[in-house]
């Protein structure tokens, strides 16, 4: 039976970025993540899709421990990640790792690949056999051994990401968060990295939280997909179902506007829905359903009431007053 490795319950992360008014001093809140729940099963890839302002990166950063949740809980292997005093359990540092979006800034330009990959090994293991273990890690990500002595600037974008992956694997994690790992890379290199990640997943029975804005990529990577908009989840479903049968107008809108390369793919896209207007900033979240100003199906109730997550098919939930099959 596959267990739930990561369980996120009603997670909220708000940032206070200033104050409104002189007398009232009301804090300006950015509701980056505003109440989301999902679970990632062992060995599975859970996909989180969304555009800018959706909060997907904030979710990643909170799960990995960069931020403390404002409200809600995150549990790992059934146990809350936060112990006494809301302090994150330190054993999680090894178990949960993250690969960042920008390979250029995730590696220290003043340290060699050997140092970068060896550092977590030294922190969490002994100094014996360091060289061997570093070489093993490099081999795992298909990088040649002589890259050990190079500096990050001498590597291409894809290779830098491979080093970042090797570094993440150094602590033997069971859960990896991949925050747009290939967005900055060319398509042929992206293919290499994605296939590497899938192979590593099979080999080490890893669970992935995969974040991207590229829906076509998500189709080929995730087993379950959730789509976020302004801090909330609009729709969650198994991948095939999500792409075949989207209910939420935002999902349908995004799917209808992705650029594809073949006619067969064109057939699979839902009917074209043009997006109206700009994406609002998470400082000014619209009332009711946050998507209503841009939604072609918006009715009165949408601007007043926040829709609840409703199961429309087994395993497929949608948060929309006007949801219907695309």
């Amino acid at each position: 039976m596959t267990i739930d490795l990561l369980t996120v319950t009603d997670l909220k992360k708000h940032f206070i970025i200033g104050q409104k008014g002189i007398l009232d001093r009301e804090p300006i809140r950015v509701k980056a993540v505003d109440g989301i729940s999902f679970a990632v099963r062992e060995g599975e890839t859970f996909g989180l899709v969304g555009e800018s302002g959706s909060g997907k990166s904030t979710v990643a950063y909170t799960v990995v421990g960069m931020y403390q949740p404002t409200e809600g809980d995150i549990a790992f292997r059934g146990q809350s990640m936060y112990g006494r005093g809301r302090k994150r359990r330190s054993d999680l540092r090894k178990e949960i790792q993250i690969v960042f979006q920008d390979p250029g800034s995730s590696l220290n330009p003043r340290r060699t690949i050997k140092d970068i990959v060896g550092f977590p090994l030294r922190l969490y293991g002994s100094n014996e056999d360091l060289q061997t273990r570093i070489l093993e890690l490099l081999q795992m990500v298909e990088l040649p051994a002589d890259y050990m002595h190079k500096y990050p600037q001498m590597l291409g974008g894809g290779e830098k990401q491979m080093v970042a992956i090797a570094r993440a694997l150094a602590t033997n994690p069971s859960f990896m968060i991949l925050d747009e790992p290939t967005s900055a890379l060319d398509v042929s290199i992206q293919a290499k990295i994605i296939n590497l990640l899938l192979r590593l997943q099979r080999e080490f029975r890893l669970s992935y939280l995969f974040i991207t804005h590229d829906l076509s990529l998500m189709r080929n990577v995730a087993s379950r997909v959730a789509i976020m908009y302004l801090g909330r989840i609009c729709e969650i479903a198994d991948a095939a179902e999500f792409f075949r049968n989207p209910y939420h107008p935002y999902t349908q809108m995004l799917l209808s506007s992705i650029p594809v390369v073949s006619d067969e793919e064109e057939q699979l896209k839902p009917k074209k829905i043009t997006s109206r207007g700009e994406i609002p900033s998470p400082v000014n979240v619209p009332s009711g359903c946050s998507f209503h100003p841009r939604c072609p199906r918006s009715k009165d109730i949408c601007s007043r009431e926040d829709p609840a997550l409703v199961e429309v098919e087994p395993g497929h939930t949608v948060s929309c007053h006007q949801s219907s099959q695309g």
């Binding site: 992206q190 296939n195 590229d214 080929n220 990577v221 506007s257 390369v261």
Partner: protein, 332 residues
Amino acid sequence: MENDLLLNIKDLRVNFDVFGGTLKVLDGVNFTVSSGEKVGLVGETGCGKTTTMKAVLRVLPMPPARITGGEILFKGRDILQMTSRELGQVRGEGMAMVFQDPTAALNPVFTIGEQMDAAVKYSAAGDKRLSGKEIRKRAVEALKEVALPDPERLLKNYPFQLSGGMRQRVCIAMAVAGDRELIIADEPGTSLDVSIQDQILRLLRGLTDKLNTSIVLITHTLGVVRELADRVYVMYAGNMVEVAPTKELFSRALHPYTVGLMAAVPKLTGGGIANGIPGRIPDYLNPPVGCRFHPRCDQAMEVCRLEKPRFYRVSEDHDVACFLHAGEETGR
């Protein structure tokens, strides 16, 4: 026939002098754009597409870059031989560039109005000594063309007050405001969200259709050119390796590099991603002899290692620079 071409790059060669030697980046680039045509230029990082466009605009940093051969003909005249005065005219009147990052392309300390004014003034329209009012009018018209709401008020805004999508539209407005004939768009919308990028691309297509402007669309995303371009060039390591009308390219890609690229794109149909193209882009200090792609090509033949293939015309407007298809060449 050749004289109808708006832009005609012939056998362009550009080198860069760096530590360790000379990078032979562009190795005989051939590229044409006709009046009113939408041409896509697809290539991955390091293939030289940006260098090519910078050469066209003559904004390559001249040391370390050196143009060692070829011609760039704009409306029949060689840009590389022009004086800076003539060049200023061509740049202002004939060509405009829309950059990848709209935030970086707009000066944060000037209002949109001031920047639009400059765009109009230094253009073909500006040559007719327009009054301030006239310039303003054209600016507002351009902003309307790009579907920006409330253009008069927008002119008073500063770039930071606009969203990314709006800034990109302003950049496009600046490009069309001056009645220019050629717009070079470098990865438009890449830094923007998919829904906004979609809007921008449709805007570009609509605009260029309406104003009969030619557009060169540079990108590394194949899906984008499929939506927007009439004809697509594929570039690899300083050479054009294939060119065809869009439909033809996507249904019948011939060059092994193009084929590899198409396979590597994740498909909405699912089924996993093909494993990319083995190897790395060549070292420009010592580029491979013969076809620059041969070290990574699984169908490389003996001749590929020795000689460099030229364009072979395999069907209507479809050229491939590959010995595998040399035999399919139809009458020239």
